[in-house]
Structures are given as C-alpha cells and as structure tokens.
Symmetry: C2
Subunit: 458 residues, 2 copies
C-alpha cells in the first residue's frame, strides 16, 4: 500500500528504509546509528511507520540510544511516544529532552505519567526545569501550549549593529527572521524583520525601524484560532503575550500547520462520532471502548425509527411491498443529509457562514433537497410502477422521497447552524440528530401516505 | 451566527464592518475607499462575506475602483472572483492584476473566459505578459501552478556584500528570508538564508556559505505533495525547478496551507459524493445539478438493497415485525461503516497506513466491527425480547447485527485500501460501495436467518 508521502520525501527515505532494515536485521547497530545522523527526523518517523513490528522494536532500541532521538520523538504522533518513553530510564529521557526546544520538551513531558514527569524534571538544570514547568501549565489546546520560548527579544533602545551581533549569539532561536522588540518590563512593543535590520543603518535604534502594529495572541487563546490567524494573515510567526502584554513566546507557522491538520481530523472524526485518539494503529479493544458509546446512542435512534415503522405494521401486513421499499427511503434520506451536513459543517469551519448567510443557507439546502427529491422521486416512481405494476405505489414512494429529501436538506442545514448558534460544536451531535429526524420523518411520510391511500394499494 | 474567524481577526474587522456598512448606506464612497487603504485584504474578504446582498453590491463597486482591489481578489474564493471580474472592463482588470505578484495574476487570469484573458493579456507590458502567460501553462494542481516568480536568485560567485545590496533593490520578493543560488545556466545550486548572509563575511562568495543539499520540487509535482513536503519538513519556502534543474519559481508556506485546507475539503467532499465547487454560497440549482448524479447512483444501490428485501417478502408477510427491525440493521451498519471509513481514509491522507500496516488495519477494523456487533447485538436482542416477547427474534436480530457490523468493519477498511492500491482515490467511491455491501449483507443476514428459523418466530 502506497502512502501519500510526497514523492520527494519518499525518494529520500526509501533507500534509507531499505538500508536501515538490512542493518537492523544484521544487528549492525553502529552502522544504523551513523545513518541516523544523516536523516531528517521526518524520515525516521516515516521509517518507524513502515517497519514490521519485530524490526521496529530493534530499530527503536537503536534510535533511543541515539542522541537525536528527541527530535524524532517530537515529530512522532503522541500515541506512539508514550510507548517509546516507557522503554528508557529517567536519565535517558532527561538527556533526550534537554536537547529539544523547551516547548517540545514540555509537550513530551506532558505525555509522561505525572510522578515520572516530576522525577525527570529534577534532572534538568534549574533554568530549563523552570521554563519547562511553566510551559506545562498552559493548556495543550491554547496558544501558551503551542508556543516556543526560543525567540530573540531585544530592548527597544538597542541599536541595529548590536542587534545583528545578538543574532550571532542566539544559534538556537526557532524563528530567526523576526526580532521581537520589548520595553523594560518585557512588554511587546513591536517586531523587526531580519530584512529591515539588514536594510537599516547600524546606529538606528530598534524602536525607530520596528513595526509597532504587530498582530499578537494571548496565551489563553484557543489553538485553532491561533492557527487560523496565522493562515488568514499569511504569517511566518506570531508573538504570544500574557494578560499584561508581556511577551511569553512565539508560535511559528509549522505549528499552525500541525494545528490545522489536527483540527480537520477532529472535525471529520466528530462527524463520524469518533474519538480523536482512535487511530489506525490503536489497539482493537481500545477502539471498541471508544466507539461503543456512539454506537449505543445510534442504536437508540435506530430503535426510534423502528418504533415509527412499528406504528404501521398493520399497513405493511396488508401490502408487504412497503417493507421492500423502506431501504430506499432510509438510504436516500441518509445520503442527502450527509451531503448537506458536509457542506454546512465545512462552511462553518472555513468561515463561509455567518448570521446573515445562515438563513439563506438553510433555505438553499431545503430547496436543493426538495428539488433532488422531486427528480429522484419521479425516477423511483417510474421504477416502482414498472417493477410492481401499481401506479399508486409509485406515487406513494415518490411523494415520500420528496418529503424525506426536503427534511434531510432542511435539518441538515438547520441543526448544525442552531448548534453553532448555541455555542455547541456542530460536528459532534449533528449527524445523529439529522439522521434521526430524517429516518423518522421519511418512514412516517412513506408509511403514513401508504396507510392513507391503502384502498388504492391493495 | 458566529463564524470561526479568530478572535483577533474579528476584533480587527468587526468595527471596520460596522463603519463600512454605514459609509455604504450613506453612499460615502471616498470615506469607504480611505478606510480600505488601512484594511488587510483578509479583513475585506471577511466583510464581503458578511454584508447583506444589496450593501455588498455597492461595496463591491467601491472596492473594484480601489487600487488595492487586486489583493482582495487574490484572497477571495474562486467562485466569487469570476462574478466580480465580470463587473469591470478589460482595462480595469489589467490595472488591478498588474499590481499583483505574477502567480496571483496568472491564477485570476485563469478564471476569465479565454477570449477575455487574451484581450487582458495584451494590455500588460511584454515582460509581465510573458511571465503570466508562462505561469498559466502550468496545471493549477501542480507545483508550477502554485509557485511565485518573485524571489531573489543570485549567481553563486556573487559576494555577500553585493547580495545584501541586491536585497535592497528587490522590494517585491515574496520570500526575502532565502536567497536562491544559481549557476550561469540558471540551475539551482543551493540556498542561503538571510541569517547566514548576515553572519557571513562581506567578501565571501555565496557558493561558500550556501546549503547545497536543498530540497526542491519539480514544476509538474502535484500540489498536495508539495504542500505535504513543506509541512513534513517544516519549510518556509521550497524552490521549484524544471526537468533540467533550472529554477522556475518558489512556493511559500502560506500557499502550502491553502493547499492543505483545499485538499481536506476535497477529501471530506469526496466522502459525501460532493463536487468541490458546491459551496454554501453556490446557487441552489447549481448544487442540484452537481449532487444529482451521486444521488441517482445511490438510488441504484438503494434499489439493490430493496431487491434483497424483496427476496424475503414471503417471510415478512408471515412475521411483519421483521420489517419493524429493518431500520436497526441498516442504521447500525451504516454508522459502523462511516466510523471505519473515516479512520481509514484519514489514516491514508495522513500517511499512517502503508503496505505492511494495511493488512493489520483491515484485520483490526473487522475485529472492532465484530466486537461492537456482539455487544450492541446482545443489547438489541434484550430489547427485542422485552418488546416482542419472542426470544428467537432477539437471537435473529442479534446475530444479524454481529454479521452486519463485521461486514461494515471489514469492507469499510478493505474497500478504500484496495481502491488506493489500484491507484484510485479511496475517498470517491468508498462510501457508496461500502454502504451497498453493508446494507445488502445486513438485510441478507437478518431476513435470511429469520427465514431459516421461521418455525420458531411464528
């Protein structure tokens, strides 16, 4: 099975993968370690994914004794990190994490069991421990939890020549193309790009050349908003300030990309009633546990739909063909609802819908549902008449589909927008509510109409 | 309805929106134009979205006569651009586009009707026209179609001091933090970051300080791969070369973010059988036309499922309660299939699945389906027995659910992975195939079992 890794990356990591496998099988640890020196962490992650379990185990051992293992850990999905960290001692964990930017170290520390985290924290020097400890206090889903503390911040009175000298001495900054200008209390005053610095006169002060109208985010702003801001304004990085406008860190565009990808996965997962941690590689019984509640809720709604059908058991007993056509009502309603829901949920996520356009969107989706209902209903009526030879049965199934697809369009738009309006996440419960409505109304329309017109169906 | 625009962006654009509306209603065109000078294009796009239709029309007129209208056009969704461009003459279009980077201009030109595009192209100066014309030859979905030609490329023998002077004279470059180093034939030799330039000695040649192992993409590489490469390797920009390694352009991280967002929308849309152009704001009958083919295909599969039911009409006539329980079989199978499909399709997109893990993933999803089938089947059996008082009916519906959810898990994983293996897009036809399989097998299991055990159900 071919993954969707870019051709370039594969071209780079495929030969590595083959060589690594050979080294691992031969037990040539030193050779494998030397090869690791030359690989990008993203390539190592890719190889970890594709190795068969037995070889992965040996490779992991080699990797964890390698000094760059920390970088690989930072690039791995969280679910795999915990397992790897449990294989090595506290000393080794501290050694690996101390080589990482404090924000990555804090993220990985957050994956350790609390008592182990405390033990590892004691092994850092005081300054690093304090930084990591502070970063760990921010929620994972906030700007504070995303930010790095490796940036260059300089006083507004510093001169250009000195600023350039300072860049020389900060080899570890994550975003070297912007300098953040602060006042004597550490409050963010503005930003100077490296380009402005290069073009300025050496004796100018930073406050003269800085851009004071800098976009910024607060440490407690949600991760998704920060990502959208970076994407919206095409930023390479955004400074993070606390409630007093004191510069606390910066967030770089690569972290925004990760947040956007995570956010979309979450959106798709919520639509399907899935837990974000439920991945391809999760153990089966973990997935069962996570999916079961949603399936039980759905069983409840399915029982509701079957209760509607039960109300009309008398009619079905008279005309069994009604049972034959039931899957058409449910199937078409379900598909129409999924289409409308996808357009609306995606529209909300992309910011395409607001108060004034919401009403229009609901009206539109109801119209679309009605129209498709009329067209496919007509088609189905013809099929029903040809198949069963009863014109009235064609009329009943046709009209039921019109009603059903109208309800699917209307509810598929109305329910997520109302949930959004109420401040709830529209992706979470929309699909179950919309399906319930659509199924119940669809069966009600179909079997109800059939009951009314029963004399003509017999 | 509140959109998901970041709080910061809203804080910035909300007061603007209110003032713009007041100006527009009063017909204060000059005041509105002056306000436009101070707004970010992203904010103008946001306001365009939220204005009621009548005010949007007046605002559009003001906007199009504003000199920065081109930037706003470049930031708008494609579907809205065509409409705006049709409101102004060729001269005005050329004037607006000439202020944009050539890649944005080429993208917008591509949205004009061909004969109009030719007319507008003649209004540019020869050099710009040639650049735009060349950029328009690249497919929209390729690296060539994404790249900008506004970058700084310098000969490898140029000295650091001269390179810094050259940056001064290139105010229009889109990515000023990297210089691309080329040989006498324009072939890409390496990259120098602005930071390296600042730290180097003035008399050094670029080839001495450049990084020669630069990742690059070919003009014909797919857009999604380029985006993934930029995200995978945390790049701010990537150079684009032609087949002869001649530097043709660069792609910046903000375009990668747009590509990732588009790609995800496409993935979600394909899963629901939607056309990418079918958006919240599309005219209703446009949406009807685009959704109809998918709904007709689904009608076909629904008819297939109802044909399966028809095979057992005799049994349903004997025990009408079977019809009542049919929605439970279909509903639970559909939900289980959606969950598995989402995990697998997302896993493929995120590169979490490859050849060796595919078999494991299929086995896992089948196990998960089976397990959830046993648990919810047991629950439903109890409900059925309590409701209908027939233990055998409980057994039948329970066993049918076990079969159905097993098939949903197995097919939900197998079908997209097989489609992927065959080089097809798994998101496009997986859901219809999986639904068909699940529905047919579910009804077959439920009604078939009921027919076998008929004597005990009467």
């Amino acid at each position: 099975m071919v993954t969707r890794t870019p051709a370039g990356a594969l071209a780079a990591s495929r030969p590595y993968a083959r060589i690594i496998r050979r080294f691992v099988r031969k037990g040539a640890r030193d050779e494998a370690a030397r090869l690791l020196d030359r690989m990008h962490p993203a390539e190592v992650v890719q190889i970890l994914r594709t190795l068969p379990p037995a070889e992965r185990k040996s490779f992991t051992e080699i990797l964890l004794s390698h000094e760059r293992a920390g970088e690989v850990l930072a690039a791995l999905p969280e679910s795999q990190v915990g397992e790897l960290l449990s294989q090595v001692g506290d000393d080794r964990v501290a050694a690996l994490l101390s080589r990482l930017p404090p924000d990555d170290a804090a993220d990985l520390m957050g994956l350790l069991p609390p008592e182990r985290g405390d033990a590892v924290l004691k092994l850092f020097d005081d300054k690093t421990a304090a930084t990591i400890d502070r970063l760990m206090t921010y929620g994972k889903e906030t700007a504070g939890g995303m930010m790095t503390t490796r940036y260059v911040a300089l006083d507004r009175h510093i001169r250009v020549s000195e600023a350039i000298a300072r860049i020389r001495s900060e080899p570890e900054a994550e975003m070297v193309f912007y300098l953040y200008v602060i006042d004597e209390f550490g409050r963010l005053e503005g930003v100077v790009s490296l380009r402005q610095l290069v073009l300025a006169k050496p004796e100018q002060e930073l406050r003269e050349i800085m851009n004071p109208k800098t976009l910024r985010v607060r440490t407690d702003q949600p991760r998704a908003d920060v990502a959208e801001m970076i994407s919206h304004y095409n930023l390479l990085a955004i400074p993070v300030v606390d409630a007093g406008n004191v510069l606390a860190g910066i967030i770089t565009v690569d972290d925004a990309i990760d947040a956007i990808t995570d956010e979309t996965t979450r959106e798709m997962y919520r639509l399907a009633g899935l837990d974000t941690e439920d991945r391809v590689a999760s153990p089966p019984f973990d997935s069962v546990r996570r999916r079961l509640p949603w399936m039980v809720i759905n069983l409840g709604t399915a029982i509701l739909a079957s209760w509607v059908v039960w109300l009309f058991e008398g009619s079905i007993a008279q005309v069994v063909t009604l049972a034959t056509f039931m899957p058409i009502v449910a199937g078409m309603g379900g598909n129409a609802a999924t289409q409308t829901l996808t357009v609306i949920i995606r529209g909300i996520a992309l910011g395409e819908i607001d108060f004034s356009s919401a009403r229009r969107a609901i009206l539109k989706e109801a119209t679309v549902g009605l129209s498709i209902g009329v067209l496919t209903g007509l088609l189905m009526a013809v099929v029903a008449i040809l198949w069963k030879g009863k014109p009235m049965l064609g009329l009943v199934i046709g009209l039921a589909m019109v009603t059903n697809l109208f309800v699917a369009g209307l509810m598929g738009a109305l329910i997520p927008l109302v949930l959004k309006r109420l401040g709830l996440d529209p992706a979470v419960s929309s699909s179950v509510l919309v399906t319930t409505f659509t199924d119940c109304c669809g069966f009600m329309a179909f079997l109800g109409l059939a009951t009314l017109l029963m004399p003509y169906l017999l």
